[in-house]
Symmetry: C2
Subunit: 216 residues, 2 copies
């Protein structure tokens, strides 16, 4: 993430002045992620971001040339989080173990930090108007890595012969759903947030259905 949010800014040569730049930058990004995920790009004003970050609007523009720049940086940040969740695919070669761990990580991610997922979803739904080439590249290379691993499982006869992309899509779709659609889930749960027990049940159910669905 470092060096990213300074890309097109008047970045100082070396970091000085204690950590003012970094501290403010972080606050702005956090505020932006929250607001963009709640109200979308167009629904969020730079003024609101500034207020939430506790700074005057002009200060936000001092660190991020435009609203789009800021948005783009936040998106990049989010993708990195998911890439971490997927490191499991490299650490083990047992499909059941990997899938269980991955689904759990992804589901917990969805429950505890849904904001990023929502923001990403809205960007993708709208056809990636802001998402830049770099982000797309990162996405593709991450996808490739995971697909390769799934393919080896198929070659070894460990799992069903479905298209690896279809399988990954299903995992992605289902786990993201618990973040993106949390509002709908709440409506269909008597207007109550899922309890910890319900979350655990959801993780179990999703794991069971997917594992049962793809293992031989």
């Amino acid at each position: 993430m470092t060096e990213l949010f300074m890309s097109d800014n008047k970045k100082p040569g070396t970091t000085r002045k204690s950590g003012i730049r970094e501290a403010n930058t972080r606050q702005i990004i956090a505020a932006a992620e929250a607001l963009f995920s709640e109200k979308g790009f167009n629904g969020t004003s730079t003024q609101e971001i500034a207020d939430r970050a506790g700074l005057p609007k002009a200060n936000v523009h001092y660190y991020f040339k435009t609203k789009q720049d800021l948005y783009s940086v936040v998106l990049q940040d989010i993708l990195q989080g998911w890439q971490k969740d997927a490191e499991i695919f490299q650490r083990s070669s047992d499909p059941e173990e990997v899938l269980r761990s991955y689904i759990r990580a992804k589901m917990e991610h969805s429950f505890t930090r849904p904001k990023g997922s929502k923001m990403w979803a809205m960007e993708v739904i709208q056809g990636g108007p802001v998402m830049g080439k770099e982000i797309r590249k990162a996405l593709v290379s991450w996808d490739d890595t995971v697909l390769q691993r799934i393919q080896t499982w198929i070659d070894e006869g460990k799992i069903q012969a479905v298209s690896p992309q279809s399988m990954l899509n299903m995992i992605w779709a289902t786990t993201q759903y618990y973040a993106d659609y949390d509002y709908q889930i709440r409506i269909l749960n008597d207007n109550k947030r899922l309890t910890v027990a319900q979350r655990e049940e959801a993780i179990e159910d999703v794991s069971r259905m997917i594992l049962h669905g793809v293992l031989q």
Copy 2:
């Protein structure tokens, strides 16, 4: 759907003047659905909607008091489409047959008319700021109907004992994904739209994984 989009308007007592009102109304709704799904509520201007519908802006406001009213009507329309897809649950009691048909209907719906799904997704992601009570009610009652049917399958031992809501969530999540995330799917498919064959493969894969995952 009839009578809905006139709710808070100066509706004429009886329909006269050939079908001017209905024709214009339909055009506006179609334009609105397309634009809202591409750019969200805040990203779409009434002027754009008017242009796409081939009318002056003031005319749009003549039929729909506010942008929100229009948005709300379109949402309602979308939910109705999905309710139709789910009628299958009432027409057969064999889980394999029902699920196969439903998944296919939903997937084809996603491929051929992704706009509605996208608009719905954005609304839900943002916490349903416009969605009214009626829409929520319709959603809940539709959900209940489907859950009951799934529960009977469980009681009869025809499918695995997962929570019916978890199961429906997975079906929903996965099928909607092919509409909402079509842009991401394209990126991960060499930047090419899925071919008809690929769509068919996706439908097959999704059906197989879900059926294999939930049937005994």
